[in-house]
Amino acid sequence: MRNIPRTVGALLATLSLTFGVSSLGVAQVAVKAKMLYTMAGSPLQNAVVVIRDGKIAAVGEAGKVEIPAGFTVLEAEVVTPGLVDARATVGLTGIYNNEGHDQDQLEASTPIQPELRALDAYNPQEKLVAYVRGFGVTTINTGHAPGKLIPGQTVIVKTTGNTVEQALVQETGVVVADLSTGGLERGKSPGTRAKMMSLLRQQLIKTQEALSKESKDQPRDLKQEMFARVLKKELPLLITVHLAQDIANALRLQKEFGFRLILDGAAEAPLLLEEIKAAGVSVVLHPSMQRAYGDARSLSFETAAKLKQAGIPFAIQTGFEGYVPKVRVLLFEAAIAAANGLSREDALSAITRDPARILGIEKRVGSIEVGKDGDLALFDGDPFEYTTHCIGTIIEGKIVSSQKN
């Protein structure tokens, strides 16, 4: 069953080769940019990107790259890679905010459910998916929200497609955990931080033992399979933690079991920069404009800049909102970081190349290089300026938004 998406993908690729582009709506497209941020080297002035059959076929200065005849040509002041949201819930959460209708981000029955696939809950036709696409977002790691010890998985998708299979980049992005106050159960277990750690350690130890036995006759256990993939470092464990003490808990757990840890939120990361750096883990930072209360009360507009300065790999996320805005605009969150100590290129990197690397999808997305997906965002000025517009979004060569947003 798991192979179906890949088969569909392969089929689509075959179709496009067999029947040409028009039948699938994939344009052969070239984009001229006054300033091109490839995120694979210095920005280029007066540059051209050529996208053929959904992949980037050529990149370079206007004089050196030829635009093939018959290609649709777009122009923009500034062009960046399609934006990559390192952690969202959009598509599981929707615009109406009605439980049971479009709020599938958290299943409350039990604290530990790594088997819940975001794949089965993502609605590619959600209005807010189209909304973020209009602001240059092309790839999202979206899925279960914090609020339980192990709420489930995320899925990595492109922000287009009628079915999740058409949108799919990776069936599981990360396994999500919450070691913050959000992971605690009211009047039930786990009711303390120590208990959360104990439950999680016990699960991981049980999985370690099962792995060491290598028995072929074991009945399948969906929970255990996911923990096994985490322990085998096939998938990262993304742990929501804001308080310094909770960040330390996540690092302690990582040290014991050696999995790929991504710290999620991390409002108090500035208090533990040395420890985070030494552990060699990445941070998917809270949205810059997240409300500063509860565990995240100490968050700062300047944390992104501090992480950069410390040499800690990080990305900026849109996260989860219970109320409004029902989805955050990735570009706007990075803009606030860019206005508070992070350079423009580093801020762009935090929503393109860096999340792609952290998620392990950098071979496909995150920068404008030959062979990568033809995903671009087009702007009529500095992407971060309040009064600049996103004027176009391209996903795998297809113009998916041409509104001035």
């Binding site: 905010n97 404009m289 500063a292 209360y293 409004v324 029902k326 606030i336 206005a339 309040y386």
Partner: protein
């Protein structure tokens, strides 16, 4: 000579309503001169290399570099900076307001200022965003959730120190009302829009009767009706002394407010107005101003699904007086300038955008003679910016209220609130108007 004339002029224009220890010889108060900045007064064209003279908390004069600086003036060099009027936030929930409780959908008797903790960090953050005047409101979970309060964030020991008082020395404020889905609930709350409106009409008709009884009593105090705190507040509304600040999202709900406004003749400001762009002509025709919210994405509830960045521009073009508001903690007061900047992104004029944060808001609170522009005689409330008010890269450097500096980005204590960090936030959730009340009603 010019200065003397301006001084006289400003004294003539100065409302003599501030009930604090009056400065006996105001003309002897030291003059402050702020020089060198690009001044955007919100009442006229920008002034390059501007001069702003302040005395006794009031603006004495404003002009270009030809305006003479009186000898002995305390000069502040603002070369390279931009100065705009202090921002007026027409809809804020800073300081933890709690107005009406769950006992009834209609509670005009409660005063929000009896609930405020002015020491909350959100108040400091508002200053870091350049907010000088705010209308602090109870929430929208009631048809009528109480009396709002207009404050200057000038600092102080108790909420009284923050009041903007009228000529009788009484604190000023509006009356918060709401329609649409937020006030709907189980009894005694209304279950439908029809019921919501009937309950409100009933209340205003009672107030008209109360008004008549008082009129009929004339000078005979024995004939006066017993005092009723709720009726007294509604009476002020009927007499135009208290402006209705009305939460409303959907186009038909907006029209319902206009219908009530016509029936009872009260002054009203429409708040949020998510679907205002659908009925801009009707709003313009009714000459009712709109205080709008800009949220980064539409939705969150059914009646806000059609929320648009373009509402400001559409209403401006229709000739409606438009202000933005923070609805803090829905949006962050530190980023108040951003709301209008995104309005420009969606087609609003720059001048309109500046007024939407200053003069237009002042008009909606009935305070336009006192605040909202940089004109002689008005309060010396202004914000010093590092550049273009509508650029993401611009920082609020200083905030001044009545001639006193109340925020300074170079002061580490103030900077903490401007950027955040340990000590800048609250453990408890900030007041989110609708969420809290919806939960309380469940």
């Amino acid at each position: 000579m010019k200065t003397v004339l301006l001084t006289l002029l400003s004294l003539l224009l100065t409302p003599v309503s501030i009930p604090r220890p009056a400065l006996p010889q105001q003309d002897k108060a030291p003059i402050q001169a702020f020089v060198g900045a690009t001044i955007l007064p919100a009442s006229g064209t920008p002034i390059a290399q501007g001069v702003l003279l302040v005395q006794g908390g009031k603006i004495l004069a404003i002009g270009d570099k030809s305006l003479p600086i009186p000898s002995g003036a305390v000069v502040t060099d603002l070369n390279g900076k931009t100065v705009i009027p202090g921002l007026v936030d027409t809809h804020s929930h800073i300081a933890g307001p709690g107005g009406a409780d769950s006992s009834s959908p209609i509670q005009p008797d409660v005063r929000v200022y009896d609930s405020l903790n002015m020491r909350e960090s959100a108040v400091k953050k508002a200053l870091a965003g350049g907010v000088t005047t705010a209308n602090i409101m109870p929430g929208s979970g009631h048809l009528l959730s109480g009396q709002t309060v207009y404050v200057k964030l000038r600092g102080g020991r108790t909420v009284e120190d923050y009041f903007i008082r009228d000529s009788d020395g009484k604190p000023t404020g509006g009356l918060k009302m709401a329609n649409g889905t937020n006030p709907i609930g189980s009894p005694p709350f209304p279950g439908t829009r029809g019921k919501s409106t009937a309950l409100v009409r009933e209340q205003f008709i009672k107030a008209l009767e109360y008004q008549k009884k008082i009129k009929d009593a004339g000078s005979d105090s024995k004939k006066l009706p017993p005092r009723d705190l709720g009726m007294e507040a509604l009476l002020e509304v009927l007499e135009g002394k208290r402006i209705v600040q009305h939460h409303t999202h959907r186009a038909d709900d907006i029209i319902t407010v206009l219908r009530l406004h016509k029936e009872f003749g009260f002054k009203v400001v429409l708040h949020h107005v998510s679907e205002g762009w659908k009925v801009a002509e009707e709003i313009a025709k009714a000459k009712v101003p709109c205080s709008i919210i800009l949220i980064d994405a539409p939705g969150g509830k059914l009646e806000a699904v059609d929320l648009s960045f373009q509402t400001g521009a559409v209403l401006e073009k229709a000739g409606v007086v438009v202000a933005y508001h923070t609805d803090d903690g829905i949006t962050d007061s530190r980023l108040f300038l951003r709301s209008a900047a995104l309005g420009i992104r969606a087609g609003m004029s720059r001048e309109g955008a500046l007024q939407s944060l200053t003069l237009s808001g002042a008009k909606m609170l009935g305070l336009e003679k006192q605040v909202g522009t940089l004109e002689p005689g008005k309060d010396a409330d202004f914000v010093v910016l590092s550049g273009d008010p509508f650029s993401v890269y611009t920082k609020v450097l200083q905030t001044w209220i009545e001639g006193k500096k109340v925020f300074d980005r170079t002061d580490p204590k103030d900077l903490l609130y401007a950027v955040g960090g340990v000590g800048a936030g609250e453990e408890i959730r900030p007041y989110l108007c609708c969420v809290d009340e919806m939960e309380a009603k469940r």
